[in-house]
């Protein structure tokens, strides 16, 4: 039975890979939206912050668009647009709060608790309509440094019940120990796993290091194993954006976005201590480091796809600024601002962001197909809005391809999608990217599309550059930068309108600085026009001045990040 499952997965992966190298006809991939990181009241920190009575069923019901009762504010809430998939990821071991009687220290208790999650997922999994992926969070926080991973599997409940989910205590505290456990369990049961590190911004310099957990330089084997299990990173989530930091990207005028709790350019951790930003904390620096390590040892340990998830502790996955369901139950809602926070560290509510969702280009809305999309990194992160983003890389795209009736056919036919690889440019032809971005159907217009390129030069130095490649309106670039689009936000009323910006932006961009002998990566950042931040809605509801009262920018430019495409000489 397990063997059949495994080989079926392999066959389906093979088919997908074949398909991507041929012009696609009828083999359409659609974008499916989901959250891979939701905590329920069974997580200790969720419980102690006021979420006392909602379990996996509530998480799934909310995600599927059914009305539920908010655990913090007690009112009925409903997601106006259901999600397509969800991972409930409570902390392991389940030492606190699952509705199982008995001694929490026993294996029986743990097994019974795990069964609750597996059974709930099975009840709500409805192939083609809604996918419930079975998962958990491996949570190791030495000295407050977040080395956390969400883990999920495409396996069904029956199979998932044949293992107890790993925790740092059961596997060992090093990420390497988790990967060993995944390897062994995968071999034993013939099932796959995806582990996704998150909150690298709170890792205190530990997430994307130049060395392994023993302090040795990263080896090819380490890099291969890491990539086998952790092909992606959660780049946007409630506790902040991990894309980059102004400290590392001073030229990037959009780098200062929802960085989480900071003071004087330092990061404030959940236990209250502070650290300076470290290159190991951010994804762009990790992508750059990866190029250098690959040059040294032959394998890139940080070839990361980008995805978003909430990490909500309210059980309710929601990223809508206007109706944000909150991070911690007790702190949700306009009246429960920073002053109401005697618990759970010093991370004030309005410092957290209403963000983190993944768009997955998948052949179907099923556990197998979605897991395959994650594994080939054909996924992207947004801060909440469901903008549609396609990116293909190749050597032959031409300007008029941007106007093609069927962008997907041209893209898959002549290139690789996001998450893919290009190598050995023919006759030194520069890399060209075919990009198509469409606004969220019910959201704000688009400001611009940018390509972010990182590369490793002959001296082994890494560099980054940002190119504005498509933008709304008649703006002209000044010193290589398109000026700001302006704003329609009425802060006092917490409104905006779509009289500026474009509904759709598409282009073919040819790398003007291409060097066929340099390793590089390219990813796309799409920016919306400014819209009110959730703290602004809160402040207006309270009759207070948004900027002054919340200490937050009244408006933000929501955004999407594609997974990168890599070029190898």
């Amino acid at each position: 039975m397990m063997q059949i499952r495994k080989s079926w997965l392999l066959v389906s992966l093979t088919l997908v890979m074949c398909a991507s190298s041929l012009p696609v006809a009828g083999q359409e991939r659609n974008v499916y939206w989901g959250d891979t990181h939701v905590h329920t009241s069974y997580s200790r920190d969720a419980f102690s912050t006021g979420n006392v009575n909602t379990g996996p069923d509530t998480a799934y019901r909310f995600a599927r668009g059914l009305p539920v009762v908010h655990p913090g504010i007690g009112s009925r809430v409903r997601l106006d647009r259901p999600l397509d998939f969800l991972v409930v990821a409570d902390h392991t071991p389940f030492g606190n709060g699952a509705p199982v009687e008995g001694d929490q220290s026993t294996r029986e208790y743990q097994t019974a608790a795990w069964s609750l999650y597996a059974d709930a997922a099975e009840r709500h999994n409805d192939p083609g309509t809604f996918t419930a992926l079975i998962g958990w969070e491996w949570t190791y926080t030495p000295g407050g440094q977040h080395l956390h991973r969400v883990v999920f599997t495409p396996a069904d409940a029956e199979t998932a019940k044949q293992f107890l989910p790993a925790s740092p205590a059961s596997t060992g505290v090093r990420p390497e120990d988790l990967w060993n456990w995944l390897e062994a369990t995968s071999d034993r049961l013939g099932i796959d796993f995806v582990a996704i590190p998150h909150n690298s911004n709170l890792s205190g310099g530990r997430m994307f290091e130049m060395v392994d957990s023993e302090g040795r330089p990263i080896s090819a084997e380490y890099a291969r194993t890491r990539m086998r299990w952790e092909p992606l990173v959660e780049v946007l989530q409630i506790k902040g954006t991990s894309e980059t930091h102004p400290f590392f990207s001073p030229e990037d005028e959009f780098a200062d976005f929802e960085l989480g709790y900071q003071r004087d350019g330092n990061i404030i951790h959940t236990r209250g201590d502070t650290t300076a930003p470290d290159p190991a904390d951010y994804v762009r620096t990790a992508l750059l480091r990866g190029l250098g390590i690959e040059e040294e040892v032959g394998v890139n340990p940080y070839k990361l796809g980008l995805q978003g998830a909430t990490d909500t502790h309210t059980t309710l996955s929601d990223t809508d600024e206007e109706l944000f369901a909150g991070w911690l139950a007790r702190l949700t809602g306009p009246a429960n601002g920073p002053e109401a926070l005697p618990v759970f560290g010093r991370v004030a509510t309005w410092n957290s962001a209403a963000q983190g969702i993944t768009g997955a280009w998948s052949t179907a809305n099923t556990r197998e197909a979605l897991t395959a999309a994650f594994k080939r990194k054909e996924v992207y992160a947004t801060s909440g809005p469901r903008m549609q983003l396609r990116m293909f890389g190749g050597f032959e795209f031409e300007a008029e391809d941007a106007n093609a009736r069927d962008i997907a056919a041209v893209g898959y036919g002549g290139g690789v999608p996001m998450g893919g690889d290009l190598a050995q440019a023919p006759s030194d032809t520069p890399v060209s990217l075919l990009i198509h971005a469409v606004k969220d159907p019910v959201g704000a217009n688009l400001d611009r599309v940018q390509v972010i390129k990182g590369w490793l030069d002959e001296e082994g130095e890494t560099h980054e550059r940002i190119y504005d490649v498509a933008w709304a309106g008649q703006r002209t670039a000044v010193n290589g930068k398109v000026p700001p689009i302006g704003s329609t936000v009425d802060v006092a009323r917490a409104t905006y309108d779509n009289t500026i910006g474009s509904a759709e932006l598409s282009t073919v961009w040819v790398d003007p600085d291409f060097d066929p002998d340099e390793r590089a990566f390219y990813y796309v950042r799409v920016l919306e026009i400014p819209t009110p931040r959730y703290s602004t809605y809160d402040a207006v509801a309270l009759g207070r001045d948004p900027a002054e009262f919340t200490g937050q920018p009244p408006a933000i430019q929501e955004r999407a990040f594609s997974s990168p495409i890599w070029y190898t000489p």
Binding site: R107, S170, E504
Partner: protein
């Protein structure tokens, strides 16, 4: 439907047995006694047993493998073992002291946690016995509103992008093409050959109102409600937030209530869920109704009198 307050027939008989209630309450009292007087009759004596120490270590290590820690305990040095014992004793002593001082009282986190555990105790996570056909039909009939499927539409469209062409030009181009499409009886699949690239989808196959409205706006939906479905008659131009559209609507199915057979799994799941919640609620209500409630000081007239009485 079960009337509130009546014990439903499907509640397992043992759960209705007063003896069980007695035993549960007795057990809770016993456990509480055990907490307060955990070590024989001497609250000032702490006995550190091997089992207690391993159990303690499991929580500290956040791992729950008794055998592993059992073995690990033997491998500790004397100093390490003593440190573990000291830690256990420290926690036990401070815990007892806190309880003795009544620090568990008036702490909302502890209060909520205990209530949560009690609620969990009455949460029935076993799959209930099979649901009878009759009760399922009764439930489906009563809650049929929840199962109504929204109207669905199948159409294709030709799009003229106002941002690219300009609004007036887009509308004119659409108006001109409408006649051509109808004269030549351009079929469903023909939409691919005309107009601009649609922002979201070319064809909408059996899509709901909400989905279409989210993509193309309310005006287009209103139009779809007015035209007769046809395999050859195009209509328009209709305006969306993005430009102008010519539409070939080939089918429109009104909102409908599916037969029970079509959605039986879902109805059964909902019914079980409701029953589970009902059981839990009733059991908790029984606990609550076992208390005599004496409300004082709410009537403003007697406010002062009551507070005087309390002071006495």
């Amino acid at each position: 439907m079960t009337k509130p307050g009546r014990k439903p027939a499907w509640l397992p008989s043992w759960l209705r047995d007063p003896l069980i209630h007695f035993l549960v309450i007795g057990g809770v009292l016993f456990a509480a006694y055990g907490l307060l007087v955990p070590d024989g009759n001497d609250p000032r004596r702490i006995t550190v047993s091997r089992d207690a120490l391993i159990n303690f270590a499991q929580y500290r290590a956040n791992t729950f493998q008794f055998d592993v820690l059992d073995q690990a305990l033997d491998e500790l040095t004397a100093a390490e073992r003593q440190a573990l014992v000291d830690e256990y004793v420290r926690e036990e002593a401070l815990y007892r002291e806190a309880i003795a001082m009544g620090l568990d009282q008036g702490d909302d986190v502890i209060r909520q946690r205990l209530i949560q555990r009690l609620e969990f105790l009455f949460e029935d996570n076993n799959e209930p016995a099979d649901v009878g056909r009759d009760e399922l039909i009764e439930f489906y009939t009563e809650y049929s509103d929840d199962y109504i499927e929204p109207a669905i539409y199948t159409f294709t469209h030709v799009f003229f992008n106002a941002e690219r062409r300009g609004d007036k030009e887009a509308r004119e181009a659409a108006t001109q093409l409408l006649a051509e499409l109808n004269e030549q009886s351009i079929p469903f699949s023909g939409s691919l050959g005309y107009g601009d690239r649609p922002l979201y989808f070319q064809n909408y196959i059996e899509r709901t109102r909400d989905f279409i409205a989210a993509n193309l706006g309310q005006d287009l939906i209103s139009m779809l409600d007015q035209v007769e479905p046809s395999t050859s008659t195009w209509c328009g131009p209709i305006q969306s937030p993005y430009g102008w559209h010519l539409v070939l609507l080939t089918s429109r199915e009104s909102a409908r209530l599916p037969d029970l057979e079509e959605i039986e799994d879902r109805v059964r799941e909902d019914y079980r869920r409701m029953r589970k919640e009902q059981t839990q609620r009733q059991q908790l209500d029984e606990i609550i109704s076992g208390y005599e409630v004496n409300v004082i000081g709410l009537d403003p007239e007697f406010r002062n009198a009551e507070s005087v009485k309390e002071e006495n």
